[in-house]
């Protein structure tokens, strides 16, 4: 089963949930920057959350189904069109053979995810099929290539329901990110407003100070290198801010102000260039509580999606005309 790539999009890469457990070898986990969005897309098409999908950045690909296939698109709000017709995101979509899906430009947010029922197929390297830009592992989507996926019957009718979360951040609007301050530092970003630069990538978001005063942490020649994490906020000597993302380095020597709360990871992943950001410091304990609660909510969502898909499948199999929701 396959889809033909007519247009690859601005930066479209294969992503799953990455390669956890190899940080001590210098290999960051990588994987989808907005993990939650990829997991939901996978659940919508009946995949495991870690199956391979596409990560779309700002402007997406145009694909043609070569066989009947079920897909779902989540994350950044795209101008999504099926054979020219605008369709909603966040639900399973049946593409009949010959249909064209245009993933268009992001109206809000930065990264969208496309899951294909059965999961995409690509070479596995070090336990994952993800594209890791710094380590140069995995692949980028190219024009005229083929997306292959495991065979799955396209037995679903178009869903009458969809999953929608909070609207993603947009350029010119302010997003509040919660973070845990580094030990011994207060909220050095209190009262400051930053703007997301155009030079961010899968390694890190780069931000410029727009308003407010920020205390600069000092750097000394003997500053010791320490491990870093997804969401680590660094203050390089040029006065900008860097927030580390999926393809980051595993250790760093720049002054570290803290790390974005895991519960705000999706918001972080969805910040487009030009978005404005303010930071709110929360306690370590509160951040852990939020992270655990977030996972609990996702577990409930996974179940709800599975039930809705089940109902949809059963409805389309009956002859009862009222069942065509």
């Amino acid at each position: 089963m396959s889809l033909l790539v007519h247009r690859p999009g601005l930066q479209t890469t294969f992503q799953d949930l990455g390669r956890p457990g190899l940080e001590h070898l210098g290999i960051a986990t990588g994987g989808a920057v907005d993990r939650t969005a990829l997991r939901i897309a996978n659940w919508l098409v009946g995949n495991r959350d870690r199956d391979l999908g596409l990560e779309i950045t700002l402007l997406g690909p145009e694909l043609e189904a070569e066989t009947d296939v079920v897909v779902a698109c989540t994350g950044a709000t795209l101008d999504l069109r099926l054979d020219g017709r605008l369709v909603a995101m966040g639900r399973p979509l049946v593409l009949r053979r010959g249909s064209r899906l245009d993933l268009g430009a992001a109206r809000c947010g930065a990264r969208a995810y496309l899951a294909v029922a059965g999961g995409l197929l690509a070479d596995e390297v070090l336990g994952s099929r993800s594209r890791h830009t710094l380590a140069n592992l995995g692949t980028v989507l190219e024009r005229s290539s083929r997306l292959r996926c495991r065979p799955r019957p396209a037995d679903l009718g178009d869903a009458a329901w969809s999953v929608a979360g909070a609207p993603p951040p947009r350029a010119g609007h302010t997003t509040r990110l919660r973070f845990v301050a580094a030990e011994g530092l207060g909220n050095l970003l209190d009262g400051a407003r930053y703007r997301v630069g155009h030079d961010g990538d899968r390694m890190a978001l780069r931000l410029d100070l727009l308003e407010g005063m920020v205390t600069t942490a000092t750097t000394s020649p003997g500053r010791t290198t320490e491990p870093v994490a997804f969401g680590t906020i660094q203050q390089p000597p040029d006065g900008r801010l860097a927030i580390l993302l999926a393809d980051r380095q595993t250790t760093g020597g720049y002054p570290r102000l803290g790390a974005i709360a895991s519960a705000d990871r999706s918001q972080l992943a969805q910040l487009p260039p030009g978005a404005l950001v303010v930071f709110e410091a929360i306690s370590w304990a509160e951040a852990v509580d939020l992270a655990v609660a977030h996972e609990r909510e996702l577990a409930k969502l996974e179940l709800a999606i599975a039930l809705a898909r089940n109902r949809g499948a059963r409805l389309t199999n009956t002859n009862d005309p009222r069942a065509r929701a």
Partner: protein, 232 residues
Amino acid sequence: MLSPTVSTVVVEPLADCAWLLRRHGGADPAASAWARTTAAALRRLELHAVVDVVSAFDTVVVHLDPSRLPSAGRGPALEGLAAELLRLAHDCVDTTPSTARACTLPVQYGGTAGPDLAAVAAALGLSEEDVVDRHCAPTYRVAFLGFLPGFPYLEGLDPSLVLPRRASPRSRVAAGSVAIAANQAGIYPSCSPGGWHLLGRIDPGLALFDPRRDPPNLLAAGDLVRFEPQSR
């Protein structure tokens, strides 16, 4: 309580689900041996909530999976986990085997292979030959792997070669570049951005990192490394 001769280890957040164990008392070979050994010991425990354990000079980071943390009774459970990690970290003694692997890497120093050699020499008031001699003299220990896949952080750099990182990093450092910054020495396994001073280059055929190889990294934490100048 701990005796005054034992360094204190404390736990602090690197991120909400990445707990950092910090050994106070400065970054020296004893500290990095502690970090290496503690990280290996914690990885061997294969605790359910722990995804990975990473070490650096005097820090160990335990990465946790929030979906594996208890939702009920979490406060005491997390305090218990922190206490267990600290207890283990305090009890760790250096178990680096005396038969750790050793290798000698030929290096092409200066010229296009080492574009910063002249500037480093000038900044330190030394000749280029002096810098090369002092860089080659020690036997370095791989403290840990970090920054990039396969990048070794080496300890043992001659204190007379300590310089801050470059004011503006390069967007592209050649693979195999042998570099120094602050009191650290390293080798860039692949082409990447970098802010360290480039003294030379190792044989391009020698892959520090190969994802298809098992294990993927040529060097492991605890290994010993020497450099020798390669005649042109």
